[in-house]
Symmetry: C2
Subunit: 312 residues, 2 copies
């Protein structure tokens, strides 16, 4: 029997209850009621984020749906990483026109959640002519310790954990039908830096963002919220030489500056935290002013492309 | 300037920051960071639900978008009502192909949230060829007091607060282009029974569901989860005589049994709680067995239509 013969509720069971991650210890009313109910222990705060993913926007039509849903789930979890939160729960809306697609999307969601021990706490399915997901994730952080965009200070170093530009180049290679494209796996597999986010927060980092819209745009969000300027040096980026070697300097600049969806963590830390280099890379400094200036080998770059705009 | 000239971030501001409800006192990191952060006071648990709404599925194409988004938001809040939770926060994904539509949808979400003093705590916008919303709502309930589907006991009365069938008849009248359709307002305006949900929970009610998929389907969810049978009498429904008078008995039965989206609260209460009739209506009893039997004037009805199935 294919999935089209199942009723809606059986279909939900098929899509979401096979391989589903285990119930989280905080959960007192599980998925299946009108809402889920969870304890938040003393001394902890609740952290929540939501992300939409739409076919032909967040993934190309023809991309395997399990992978699309896995990516979307990991992208949502990356927002918890940026806050330094411990990921606990997810509530997932799946919109699809096809029962078979719905099952594939559900499997991708579950696979990603299981990998990070995040409970599928609730959800909704709806018919839609376009495959789309809306993924809400929740976690916990000690009271007052969430890393935020508005905590950068003049003199702080600007640091990154992860790549910039690799994912957008991978998407281009996927769209071009390249069988062996070097960057493809950086688009196909999103790895939310949950452990690293918790570690940064525990080490005392106060300001972090995940690079989802491109380095320039996301650094600008931090600069604006914190009322600082920044100077960033592209040649300090992890993998910069490789990037230039593979695609040439001009494409490397474009990808690193405005290519989105790498889900690197961009954070700031005061001068005394230089020892962070054992697992992160300093790419710049915060200074007075309000602009984010991008340099390559010490020379300022002008007229840079900005990140993705859904309504441009 | 129309909305098409705005960048994505300006557009989000326009859609969601005009008339936005106030920051909730529990919130420590507001909308605009990677995630929002909230305190959950001692003795309280977190309650979360998510709902998708898609054009041409949850509202007819041509229905005013502000009203569509208002309805969608209220439908999501109704799940918190069914749990007896105090509504606090919402995180909203809006998917649209048009900046102007996006602004209308945002206004509808904000209007509904402001009416119920629920904070817009976060969200995401994405381009999509189909207008759609995914609305996650959060609230709080005293530990262990959430009303659930699995708490009905044999001998309990089955009660309702609100109408059954009126909304689906309203949708039909809207689709037929009736200017003066009596039922239209029941489709156009969803009123989540948040105050009533909290009151039921405070009075000791343990089992509740909101009637979103039709009386038979939702009563069956409770019966299955609680391992009881139910017998319900349609003529006891609030407004039953009016319903029959307006559309005839056959259509009244169909609407009451399988018409969705009324967002009534269906709950069970033990015999000693008969005094609930001051603000609720008893429509049946829980008994042994597993079926939900629907009667009209004491006679069992057979071959009833079930509720809405997204993939039937």
């Amino acid at each position: 029997m294919n999935s089209g013969d199942l009723g809606e509720f059986e279909l939900i069971r098929k899509a979401f209850q096979d391989g589903s991650p285990e119930t989280h210890p905080t959960t007192s009313v599980v998925n299946g009621d009108d809402a889920s109910v969870h304890a938040v222990p003393d001394g902890m705060e609740l952290v929540i984020s939501t992300d939409a993913s739409v076919c032909d926007v967040h993934w190309p039509d023809g991309f395997p749906l399990q992978s699309a849903a896995d990516r979307a789930t990991c992208a949502a979890l990356s927002d918890l990483a940026a806050m330094g939160a411990q990921a606990c729960w997810a509530w997932v809306c799946v919109m699809s026109g096809s029962p078979d697609d719905l099952v594939e999307l559900g499997k991708g969601v579950n696979a990603a959640l299981a990998r990070y021990s995040v409970e599928l706490s609730g959800g909704d399915v709806a018919y839609s002519p376009v495959n789309a997901l809306a993924i809400t994730v929740g976690g916990m952080v000690p009271v007052g310790k969430a890393m935020c965009r508005n905590q950068a200070k003049e003199g702080d170093g600007v640091w990154i954990i992860g790549r910039a530009g690799f994912s957008s180049l991978g998407l281009k290679q996927w769209m071009a039908g390249m069988e062996e494209g070097y960057f493809k796996r950086y688009f196909e597999e999103v790895k939310p830096k949950l452990e690293q986010g918790v570690r940064l927060r525990e080490l005392g980092v106060r300001c972090c963002i995940d690079v989802s819209d491109g380095l320039l745009q996301d650094a600008s969000h931090v600069a604006l919220a914190s009322n600082v300027g920044m100077t960033l040096e592209l040649s300090n980026l992890p993998g910069w030489d490789l990037l230039c070697h593979k695609v040439g300097e001009e494409s490397a600049v474009r990808a690193a500056v405005s290519g989105g969806e790498d889900y690197a963590l961009l954070f700031t830390a005061h001068e005394g935290m230089g020892w962070l280099h054992s697992f992160a890379t300093q790419i710049g400094v915060c200074r007075s002013g309000s602009s984010v200036d991008i340099q390559l080998n010490g020379t300022a770059l002008e007229a840079l492309p900005s990140g993705y705009d859904h309504f441009a």
